[in-house]
């Protein structure tokens, strides 16, 4: 299959390109940019005039709910959601049921994903067995099975000795450890950012201290063990300042932020909207502003959807009883564009955070459209509205505070390894 993507504005942050450039694809790879190679006869020409052509988006954290939580979502539904959102590669955390702590489970997931032939799936293996924070997993075997990093998902490791050794062991082989910084005890029972809103609504607070204390602990352990550390879902300005300081001291550490944390804060909980219950919690307005700025200037490396499909039964309950999480795969692009517009950022910079920068964090040769590279492509109309509704979302998770809203940035087509895996339905 030879494809010619014609007349689009190519934005490829990895190659510093932002210009009208045609893309030529053959045998799953990009074979030329600009002019067609000699003798290239396209089987298909995709008219991208007026649209933007970018490397397929890379999502650092998307829960597919397989294995075990298929009533929440299935690989089919979530992979369809991914490509509908322009996401062609995604990393999934190990908090499935059973937990991704055995090579067989990882192989099965990779196999199922390959059979679907939609987005590429990169599992994170569990750092400890069952994410219980007690025993190390077979990290070597898990890597051979296809894990690209090790994580505790949202389960803190309470025992510092265990975390120390897990990081030591990971460092032995050069594996990256992903940790979501939350102090188990300070966050116990908490459901919202500790501050005025939680005080008014009578919700148990999670103090910023739960994040900063955990970051401090993780940074020190990473320094002591030489382990490569990625801090997932930073939520506070104070947390960012600790990471800044560590980098000034010469430490290599990466971090990300969830897309909803760039747009929402604790005030959005409003009258107890369970859709605004997240882990970590939506924090104060000044935290949100700090996150937006830090992502713009690169102190936060990348952006993720933190996609977490939750069924209605687990959301239509009082706020504190609601399961945390929001659906995100199909909101990642429009909300990234909204952030870029509101911050007056060049699109190339903004899109880098969900393409080339995300690939760098994951250590993947992806997130670019270099000649010879995989033809993972997202084509979108930045000015076309996309309605977020139960009917339009392909994800089985309809849980988002944006339900009923209209955002800008409509994906028109997604290609994975040179195959068109998604095309937007014709517009009326």
């Amino acid at each position: 299959m030879k494809i010619h993507i014609k007349g689009g504005r190519l934005i490829d942050p990895a190659q510093d390109i932002d210009a009208q450039t045609d893309v030529f694809i053959a045998a799953g790879k990009v074979v030329a940019l600009g002019a067609a190679p000699d003798g290239f006869h396209a089987n298909r020409v995709i008219d991208a005039a007026g649209h933007i052509v970018v490397p397929g988006l890379i999502d650092l954290c998307a829960r597919l709910r397989e294995p075990g939580l298929e009533y929440r979502a299935t690989l089919e539904s979530e992979m369809a959601a991914a490509v509908a959102g322009g996401v062609t590669s995604l990393a999934c955390p190990p908090d499935t049921d059973p937990v991704l702590d055995e090579p067989g489970l990882v192989e099965m997931l990779k196999h199922r994903a390959r059979m679907l032939n939609l987005a590429h799936v990169y599992p994170h293996g569990a750092l400890t067995v069952g994410l219980k924070g007690e025993r190390l997993t077979e990290m070597g075997e898990l890597t051979d099975a296809g894990c690209i990093a090790f994580s505790q998902a949202n389960e803190p490791v309470d025992d510092t000795q265990v975390l120390f050794r897990a990081m030591q062991y990971a460092a032995t082989f050069g594996y990256t450890v992903w940790l979501q910084p939350t102090d188990l005890h300070l966050a116990a029972g908490g459901v919202a950012h500790e501050g005025e809103i939680a005080a008014r609504l009578g919700l148990t607070g999670i103090p910023v201290l739960a994040e900063t204390l955990a970051i401090g602990r993780m940074l020190q352990l990473a320094r002591a063990t030489g382990c490569r550390l990625h801090l997932a879902r930073i939520s506070s300005r104070a947390g960012l300042m600790l990471i800044d300081q560590a980098r000034l001291d010469g430490m290599q550490v990466s971090c990300d932020v969830a897309i909803h944390a760039l747009h929402l804060c604790d005030v959005d909980i409003g009258y107890f909207d369970p859709q605004c219950r997240t882990v970590p919690p939506l924090r104060a307005q000044f935290d949100r502003e700090a996150l937006r700025a830090a992502l713009a200037d690169g102190r936060i490396d990348a952006l993720c959807s933190d996609h977490t499909p939750v069924d209605d039964d687990a959301k239509q309950v009082p706020f504190a009883e609601a399961e945390p999480g929001t659906t995100g795969l199909e909101l990642l692009l429009p909300l990234t564009l909204a952030w870029a517009r509101e911050m007056h950022l060049p699109l190339k910079l903004a899109l880098a955070r969900i393409t080339s920068d995300a690939a760098r964090v994951l250590g993947l040769n992806a997130g670019h459209l270099k000649v010879g590279g995989a033809a993972d492509v997202c084509i979108f109309d930045a000015d076309a509205p996309v309605r977020i509704s139960r009917e339009t979302l392909r994800s089985q998770g309809k849980n988002t505070p944006y339900l009923g809203r209209e955002l800008l940035g409509r994906v028109s087509a997604t290609l994975v390894s040179g195959q068109v895996v998604y095309e937007a339905p014709a517009r009326h």
Partner: protein, 322 residues
């Protein structure tokens, strides 16, 4: 944006969920409406027919005999049919969700739900659900949700203060005790600041205060003596048993020593200061018996006024904004 869920589109009271954001005029109207109901209690025949033919469901997802009883008496004095459901011990334990329970009861032609729930915001969920499903003729009264609000308690406290002190705009009021876990404290604070109390104080150890409580409009005191100096009203809060020892407080004895209301500490308040307590009291923990039974305590009148205020709220909601 979601509009204030307790007011209808005409700005009238549709549900009573919290005292926060309740217009001053609405609060005053509730208190005014309660005045004649306080007299009903003195009459030979204690009933008025305002809610005749209406069904009030007391939905108690958390046990509270006292609060449930006062709502029951209030509804009966308004001639409503009252159905008490102690759901803490029934259907949700069988796996039925909160909203399923509500749907089932709504199908039994309920006119009003009086809801007590351990989770903050549960009555909002019910009110929003009723509205979303086109059943906004059913009213919801919050009878206490988690740590969030207990608006009828807050309002009966306002009634009590107005009864003894008349003018809110000259008062110093201290709220003392476990404010962190108290829905009563939040409802009092919002109502007091809406009614124009110029000096509102929160008195508690740091472990029993929510972060940023000052933003609700109160001054914080950790020294009870300082906090009580010159006040007109002392509002004591109940300290739950499970908070008395552990990581919040070392012991009930030490709490009493520093934050228990004794005659000696009360002497620092104005000579005509009144003492309120939402009950049930822990004598010797947050309040000394000499004070609880003393001449400044208005704790029993609170209970009596509570019925009148609850009658007023139910009459205004169910009787077409009487």
């Amino acid at each position: 944006m979601a509009r204030n869920p307790q007011l209808n589109k005409h700005g009238e009271l549709q549900h009573l969920l919290t005292t926060e954001g309740l217009p001053r005029d609405v609060i005053t109207r509730i208190l005014d409406t309660a005045e004649p109901f306080a007299d009903v209690a003195e009459r030979e025949v204690k009933k008025v027919p305002l809610l005749r033919g209406k069904s009030v469901f007391n939905l108690f997802f958390e046990n509270s005999t006292r609060t449930r009883t006062t709502f029951e008496i209030a509804a009966k004095r308004l001639s409503a049919d009252v159905i008490n459901l102690n759901i803490a011990t029934s259907s949700t334990n069988k796996g039925e969700t909160l909203l399923d329970t509500v749907d089932n009861l709504a199908a039994m032609q309920a006119d009003m739900f009086v809801v007590r729930h351990a989770s903050s915001g549960a009555p909002y969920l019910i009110a929003q659900h009723l509205e979303a499903t086109g059943r906004d003729h059913i009213h919801v009264v919050n009878a206490g949700d988690g740590r969030h609000a207990h608006p009828t308690q807050g309002l009966l406290d306002m009634y009590t203060i107005r009864h003894y002190k008349r003018d809110f705009t000259q008062l110093s009021v201290a709220v003392v005790g476990d404010i962190l876990h108290s829905r009563v404290a939040r409802s009092q604070i919002h109502a007091l600041s809406t009614l124009g109390v110029p000096d509102l104080r929160a008195v508690a150890p740091k472990t029993l205060l929510p972060q940023d409580i000052e933003r609700l409009g109160c001054r914080v005191f950790h020294d009870m003596r300082e906090g009580l100096r010159g006040v007109d009203v002392v509002m004591m809060l109940r300290l739950q048993n499970e908070r008395m020892q552990g990581s919040l407080l070392p012991s009930a004895q030490e709490y009493f020593k520093f934050f228990g209301l004794t005659e000696e500490k009360l002497a620092l308040a104005k000579p005509d200061a009144i003492v309120l307590h939402p009950g049930p009291m822990n004598r010797g923990v947050e309040i000394d018996s000499a004070v609880a039974d003393g001449r400044q305590a208005v704790i029993l009148p609170q209970v009596t006024f509570g019925i009148a205020v609850r009658m007023a709220v139910m009459a205004m909601l169910g009787g077409g904004n009487a």
